[in-house]
């Protein structure tokens, strides 16, 4: 297949089509997006060296595909793809001492440091989802090294959350001896396993996990779980 034009046509719900075949040079288009499908048809006609089909026929095919998908999966399946933004790309945290913060995020939270295209003091950490945590040093920030003595964490305040796989969540709980924080009935879908911690600059981080039972409910039954 190497060397042949390779096109991936997706339907709503496919999140990482670009990862389907990283070894192959390919174009990706959403079948239910008229403009993207038109782009695919234009690429195909260029590769084949033939003239474009009438635009109307492409529109009809996209409409027909939408109809099939709506009939099979429901209206909401399509509507979910109408979001303008794809997701959160990164959060940026100002930190007083970049080395302290790198130690915290890399050595304590075990995040993977990734290459950063800037020279000013800072660090980037990547997550498997493609999202980043960016740190930028600002030595003028107030020293909050004694904040743990003065402040309580407010879970309703500004924070970000890291999701962890359940077996690792349990390992964290064992390591930190937080067993009493695990809900009594982990099977109960509404209960969330979550803890809140401070980073060296007092940024609040939530760490949470779904039990395998909760995950099953979410995936198989599309339950509205966190």
């Amino acid at each position: 297949m190497a060397g042949k034009p390779f096109y991936i046509l997706t339907t709503p719900g496919v999140k990482h089509a670009n990862l389907v075949s990283p070894m192959l040079d390919h174009n990706t288009a959403m079948l239910t997006d008229g403009e993207q499908f038109k782009g695919f048809v234009e690429e195909l006609s260029k590769a084949a060296g033939v003239s474009l089909p009438p635009y109307q026929q492409g529109t009809e095919f996209v409409e027909a595909t939408l109809g099939i998908l709506k009939a099979e999966h429901g209206e909401e399946f399509i509507q979910n793809e109408k979001y303008f933004f794809e997701g959160i790309h990164h959060i940026n945290l100002p930190v007083r001492d970049i080395n302290d913060s790198i130690r915290f995020y890399r050595d304590f939270l075990l995040l993977k440091e990734i290459v950063r295209p800037f020279t000013f003091e800072g660090a980037w950490f990547g997550l498997p989802s493609g999202q980043h945590i960016h740190l930028v040093e600002d030595k003028n920030l107030p020293d909050r090294s004694d904040f743990r003595k003065k402040e309580n964490i407010n879970p309703k305040g500004c924070h970000f959350a890291l999701r962890v796989e359940y077996s690792r969540w349990k390992a964290i709980m064992d390591e930190l001896d937080f067993k009493d924080l695990i809900p009594d009935s982990p099977e109960e879908a509404v209960k969330i396993n979550q803890i809140y911690i401070f980073d060296p600059d007092c940024h609040v981080i939530e760490i949470n996990a779904l039990t395998p039972e909760q995950l099953m409910l979410k995936v198989r039954e599309n339950r509205q779980l966190p």
Binding site: K4, T11, V14, L31, A48, G49, P53, P54, Q57, G58
Partner: protein, 67 residues
């Protein structure tokens, strides 16, 4: 010999694959031909060899990916 496109899909997407196959065949007025097993595979064919041969002989590959 026209330009040949191999359409790859799973059974769940058969209807969409058939639609795509019809669109390419009609839209390009025969300048682009397709191989889509949903339409072209006949009972009794040696499907593995058939698919491999069309894959090898195709000029481009279109892959339908669904959740």
């Amino acid at each position: 010999m026209g330009y040949k496109v191999f359409i790859s899909f799973t059974e769940a997407d058969k209807k969409i694959a058939e639609g795509l196959n019809a669109f390419i065949a009609r839209g390009f007025r025969g300048d682009v031909s397709t191989y889509c097993s949903a339409v072209d595979m006949r009972a009794g064919m040696k499907w593995k060899e058939e698919i491999q041969a069309h894959l090898n002989n195709s000029d481009a590959i279109v892959c339908l990916v669904t959740p």
